[in-house]
């Protein structure tokens, strides 16, 4: 399976205080790739680089087989983009913005656009400036889906939306993706939402990609172990030790990735005893991963 998006060693510094450093990531074709990270971690900047809105200082970006930003228009013709904030012309009506958008896309599906407009309860004559946050989100999703894109790039698409609107937007997205086998890159800090819809996950923090793996690996791969009597220095382990912190006496809590029950024998060989294995949900795994990344632990 080829990759819809490939970033290799990308570096970019938008200001003095923040930089994307040596960023390499791959979004497999047909995947719903959850792009996780706390606010300010570099998700939106990375998305702007992917769309050719910013030019990287180092590295290469390839989107749907096109080099970006050099061939950004060709790539953008096959991309539906929903930014985190309303980006449309405020003084146009819903109908006018649909006609404006249509003029730039040969693949515009007028029937689908009209269906979505009805489904989202948007009126032709509504001014974009008068739309509520939920309606704005729906309109941006309508425009993105009506161009029949091969790749959808969604930057916090449901942030601030009420549960009903969020459900409408996500169901339209899932329906489209299952019908077209499109690739989706969806950025969010809402971990549970990503867990429901994504099959791949990438985690950004402080301008770095700290993890990238299939969702099932991420979901089941990070565990917390309660260990007794482990020596301070350990030889190479068959799993990834993300971090260890003392609890009481000789007892410690370890964050680990790639843990399998049979690895308990390795622990015993070090003179340690496994007291408890705690399964983490996605949000806990996410927090564990971030805290490890910030304290300089291994990926």
């Amino acid at each position: 399976m080829s990759d819809a998006i490939v970033l290799r060693n990308v570096g970019y510094r938008p200001g003095k205080d923040f930089a994307i450093r040596d960023l390499s990531m791959s979004v497999p074709t047909g995947a719903i790739y959850g792009f996780l990270g706390p606010n300010g971690s570099g998700k939106t900047t990375t998305i702007k680089l992917i769309l050719g809105m910013q030019t990287p200082e180092d590295g290469t970006i390839e989107v749907l087989g096109h080099q970006v930003p050099q061939a950004a228009p060709q790539a953008l013709a096959r991309i539906g983009y929903v930014p985190e904030r309303l980006h449309l012309y405020a003084s146009l009506t819903v109908d006018e913005i649909m006609r404006f958008h249509k003029a730039f896309y040969a693949t515009w599906d007028a029937t689908r656009a009209e269906e979505l407009r009805r489904q989202f309860n948007l009126r032709h004559e509504q001014l974009v400036s008068r739309l509520s946050k939920g309606e704005s989100g729906k309109l941006m999703m309508l425009l993105a889906l009506s161009t029949q894109p091969d790749l959808l790039v969604l930057d916090e698409p449901t942030d601030g939306l009420d549960p009903v609107v969020r459900r409408d937007v996500l169901s339209a997205l899932v329906e489209y993706v299952s019908a077209r086998n499109a690739t989706v890159l969806v950025s969010s800090h809402l971990v549970h939402e990503q867990e429901r819809i994504c099959d791949w996950v990438g985690v950004m923090d402080e301008g770095r990609l700290v993890a990238e793996m299939p969702m099932h690996t991420f979901r089941s791969g990070i565990k917390r172990l309660r260990v007794h009597g482990a020596p301070p220095v350990l030889p190479a382990a068959p799993f990834t030790l993300l971090g260890r912190s003392p609890v009481a006496g000789q007892e410690e809590e370890w964050g680990v990735r790639g843990w399998q029950p049979e690895m308990q024998s390795w622990l015993e060989a070090q003179g340690a005893t496994l007291r408890e294995t705690i399964d983490l949900d996605l949000e806990e795994s996410f927090v564990e991963l971030l805290s490890t990344a910030r304290t300089g632990g291994s990926r």
Binding site: P73, A90, F100, F104
Partner: protein, 219 residues
Amino acid sequence: MFRAILYTQWKWARPVLVLAAVVAGWIPLQALRSAPYKTMGTYHIPSLYSSITAASTGYQFLALAVAVVIAISSWQADSTRQHVYALSLPIARWRFVLMRFGAGAALLGIVAAAVGVFGGVAAAIAPLPPMLHAYPVGLALRFWLGSLIPFGAIFALLTSNPRKVKWVVAGVVTVFAVDIMLASFGVTQAPLLKGVFEGLYAPGGPLTAFLTRWMLIDV
């Protein structure tokens, strides 16, 4: 694509265009109405000439004002949202900018057409002395080309990277400051600035249009 872009700019600039068209109709009517009649129902030529000359300044101000407003309105909506929408459209940046410029130029053409039409109508209903003639088409063309100059300049400034504009402006100001100092100490004969202005306003220069009269009626 161009039609879609033109439509957005038309929508943003519509009130200004309507107002400009009204003013374009008012200028020649006011000029002809204020010029006193002589005898036999024709105009007193020197008074008419002076009135039409005053109207020429009115046209120049109108062209400048409309050009400024259209240049700003062409770019305002994109600028407000940090150009995110425009940059996400599948079109090369230079083509998008060129189409925005073309649409602005086309809208200026509407006002220029109003200048020509209203000027033509006003001249047609006024009893002109035999040696004077109306030039509404020439005036409209001059109005359009004249308005394109400030429109182009402001549009270029707005579409440029603000950081680069600051550097360019700072560079130009520095060059001129040094040049004036050198000239004042007698190191050079005449300041460069003087030469630049002479070049801009010289016959065929880009700002000549604003020095010459934009006459609806002439010999």
